[in-house]
């Protein structure tokens, strides 16, 4: 009998300890004496295919591996475009419709089996050619790939590309021969010269081509990874066309020219990037804006990039655990969760002394992002009364919102453009983007008669119940919802809050089922057109104008401005367009958020760039200092 109890005890002990064995046996992150940057990220990576990238988390990961023709200068502000894979700025024809790009010679892709395998088992590589860019752009236009963001910037721009997209429809998804079709406007003149023919002048093209979503894609990748699979033995066998997918989904399918390669990806848990041995074309900038030299940002001027060998990114969806990992010096860079904000930052927005003494440094910046509640202008109530929209804007206390839910980290958005854009000050603040209850009540009375006139009040002559849709189910969204209710209640407006998953909200918005919904926009490039296209009438069809705002005057100006080559002239027109939006209020503007980033002293060269991804290559880690200060 005693034996039974002994066995039972041992069995329990063994079962209890078994997971430790399993967890300890996992492939350990052993990077030897290479320099490693440790960081956390807080949302799941949705895409590793440049063409299908549509969210900032995926973009920041892709920025490490994919590069495009142009990029931004790391240090200079206002931002400046510089060549990346292109050798120089493009040659633009007289009529601004033909762009000729010369490529840097001898840019190599990261080694990959799709280029062949050397006798010693290592992978081959090859140089980047002009037709790879054409293929990248064709994939963006591919009917069978979900490329809403990337395609929205190029549709109806390049000669023959829209026709190409239409022709793709007839092909099956797995039939890659569609990539052999010529596109008139995409011309690989020789290996190092790419020419793009535009339907009309498009001055923003240069910014668009600085997004890594238009990175070159080698044909070998498609033919090897997407069209064949490992068969018996060493052979690869073709995948039947019906089973093929056109999207890049696996780590080994990533072929880029960037400073890093993705070597390990455990979804929702870990991403590891290692130095791309073929990367030779990046150098730390030698000049910056005033103050950069003093801040030590020019210490590494002219040195080859990247400095760090391995990027170790852990996915931690919750703020607090990520923050605590940072505090225990397990990670090098971190934001500040809004809940602990008061314990880190002084009321006048500086780092508390006790943290500064621990070797932390604070960088503050405003991202070119604006959050708002959009009115659906097609809604029978919201669209029918401008005064109702005015009243709601005036009744919403954004200052309170920033205090209560943003911990003071943000500023009130006063027009639809981010404050760092040159057109923002020219346009000036909108008359209804302020808190004024009295005026709000006056506007509401007006609204009552406006709605009564068109018969949109309910049976008791009251405003109908309004529904606000939010794109999240977590506690933060719930609080936002409660706050919104509290703002409209004093006006006597009844509001129902609906929490949705993000995709559900997008669908509802697209089907025009929402009345009011929370939305935001992060600038893709430093041109006001990027924000104003959200209100351009024809874009309702394309799905980027989701407030369904229609104003022929606005649209006429938009058509005019998008082909104006001179930036200064454009800004004047942009300001006039913003004025129209200020008056019509298709959105209730909320916040331009401010970001606070903390780094430890051992991280050198940190400067946040508002648009560009893939700037991590500029960071240098003083590993000795890190060890001395108790990091890893």
């Amino acid at each position: 009998m005693g034996k039974f109890y002994a066995i039972a005890g041992l069995l329990v002990l063994a079962l209890v300890l078994a997971p430790v064995g399993f967890l300890a046996l996992r492939k350990k992150a052993d990077y030897g004496d290479r320099t490693v940057l440790y960081q956390t990220y807080s949302a799941k990576v949705k895409s590793i295919d440049p063409a299908t990238c549509g969210d900032t988390t995926s973009a920041s990961m892709q920025g490490q591996v994919y590069e495009s023709l142009y990029t931004y200068h790391y240090l200079k502000r206002p931002v400046e475009i510089i060549p990346q894979l292109a050798a120089e700025m493009p040659e633009i024809s007289e009529d601004s419709r033909i762009y000729t790009f010369r490529l840097k010679p001898n840019i190599h892709y990261a080694p990959n089996p799709c280029f062949g395998i050397k006798p010693d088992g290592s992978f081959r590589t090859r140089t980047v050619r002009a037709d790879d860019f054409a293929l990248g752009l064709k994939r963006v236009a591919d009917f069978h790939l979900q490329t809403p963001l990337a395609w929205s910037f190029l549709s109806e721009r390049i000669v023959g590309l829209d026709e190409y997209r239409a022709r793709c429809e007839a092909y099956r998804e797995g039939d890659f021969s569609r990539y052999d079709m010529e596109v008139e406007g995409l011309e690989a003149v020789d290996d190092l010269t790419l020419r793009i023919h535009l339907k009309a002048p498009f001055p923003q093209l240069i910014y668009v081509l600085a997004m890594q979503t238009y990175a070159p894609v080698p044909r070998e990748l498609i033919d090897y990874h997407l069209a064949t699979e490992p068969g018996p033995g060493d052979e690869r066998r073709p995948i039947p066309i019906s089973r093929r997918t056109a999207q890049i989904t696996q780590v080994e399918q990533i072929v880029g020219t960037g400073p890093y390669q993705l070597t390990h990806w455990q979804q929702g848990a870990l991403m590891v990037f290692e130095r791309n041995p073929e990367y030779r074309h990046g150098f730390y900038p030698t000049e910056g804006e005033p103050g950069d030299a003093e801040a030590g940002l020019l210490d590494d001027a002219g040195k080859p990039l990247p400095f760090v060998d391995v990027l170790h990114y852990e996915c931690i969806l919750e703020d607090m655990p990520a923050w605590l990992r940072f505090l225990s010096r397990q990670t090098d860079v971190s934001g500040i969760p809004r809940d602990v904000f008061d314990t880190v930052i002084t009321p006048d927005r500086d780092l508390l002394d006790k943290w500064a003494k621990q070797g932390l440094r604070l960088s503050k910046f405003t991202d070119p992002t604006v959050f708002w509640l959009a009115f659906n202008m097609d809604d029978p109530v919201m669209g029918a009364s401008k005064s109702l929209r005015h009243a709601m804007c005036l009744a919403f206390n954004v200052e309170d919102l920033i205090e209560v839910l943003y911990n003071g980290r943000g500023r009130r958005a006063v027009n639809v453009l981010p404050s760092s854009f040159p057109a923002h000050p020219i346009a000036g603040p909108g008359p209804y983007y302020r808190y004024d209850m009295e005026e709000a009540r006056r506007q509401l009375d007006q609204a009552r008669s406006e709605l009564a006139a068109v018969g949109r009040l309910d049976a008791n002559d009251q405003f109908p119940l309004l529904t606000v849709d939010l794109g999240g189910r977590d506690e933060t969204s719930r609080r936002m919802g409660e706050f919104i209710r509290q703002q409209f209640e004093p006006l006597g407006l009844r509001v129902r809050i609906e929490l949705n998953d993000w995709p559900t909200l997008q669908q509802k918005v697209h089907n025009k089922q929402c009345q009011l919904y929370a939305m935001g926009w992060h600038a893709d490039y430093p041109d006001a057109e990027n924000f104003l296209q959200l209100y351009y009438g024809p874009n309702i069809e394309k799905g980027t104008n989701n407030s369904n705002y229609r104003n022929p005057e606005f649209d006429a100006l938009y058509d005019q401005v998008t082909v104006m080559p001179d930036e200064h002239d454009r800004n004047e027109v942009y300001a006039r367009m913003v004025h129209m939006l200020n008056e019509d209020c298709p959105v209730l503007l909320l916040v331009e958020p401010m970001y606070y980033v903390l780094t430890y002293d051992w991280v050198k060269g940190y400067k946040r760039h508002p648009f560009a991804y893939g700037m991590t290559k500029h960071l240098r880690i003083d590993t000795q200092l890190r060890r001395e200060m108790g990091g890893r």
């Binding site: 189910r473 506690e475 969204s477 719930r478 809050i497 929490l499």
Partner: protein, 312 residues
Amino acid sequence: MTTTAPNPAILAAPVQQGRSLWGDAFRRLRRDPAAVACFLVIGAYVALAVGAVYWYPDFLETQNYSERNLPPSADHWFGTDVFGRDVLAKTLLGARVSMTVGFMANAIAVPLGLALGVLGGYFGKWIDDLVVWLYTTLASIPGIILLIALKYAFQGIILFEGTFIELNLSGIHGLYIALGVLSWIGTCRIIRAETLKLKSLDYVTAARASGQGRVRILVRHIVPNLLHLAIINFTLGFVGAISAEVILSFLGLGVEVGTPSWGTMINAARLDLVVGRWWEAVAACAAMFVIVLALNIFGDRLRDALDPKLRI
């Protein structure tokens, strides 16, 4: 005449016994101080569920941003929440959601379980096979997955919009229904087993021999003798429903925004606890703890009193 004479006596017996069963149970419960205490607690919660709204009619508009996140004090016994509203009031109002969810879910589940259990147990054959198949199937799928899936399927659905029986399935009404249609299994099992037992008892056989119809026997002689089981399950089912509300609220699938509920209060702790704001979650947990404790003990005592055989 002589043959029918004994029948009324036999037939009356279980009904008589049934009556005395209820009386006896009531006496036993009344003499049990724990049961009485728990009953009072449950009564108090029911009163809160009904009355708190009248006590705090405009709680939702009591936000006061200059008093937000205050720890417990003389003014606010349980502190204030992120919008400066009184947490005590919020907790008391939260009883409404929990109690109604408990009640409504069981008001759907128990009759459903009773009906299916009796049908299966009494009529046997393919009906029984169908009932058993139905509940073994549902029992095989983890309840929480079904619950989440059902709640997802309900998203954005509003039935009978505009009428007075409007059902907002993405909110609390969806909770009633989802919990109701998923938690009848336990009741059904017990009822079916008991029906099988009752069916073979002498008085039922006698009733059948006296030529009473099957339906009549079912209604007159079987169902009344199963009601005590239904009541026990009703009490114990409350606990499950209250806990489920908390977990669904945590996943963002609970009540509408703006309805105070313990689930959302506990959920708030995800953001608040780490910065030391413990009061909201603790208040909700405490309120929930007390009612669950009372329901558990009362349910046990009720079972002991009504059905001594079932004692676990």
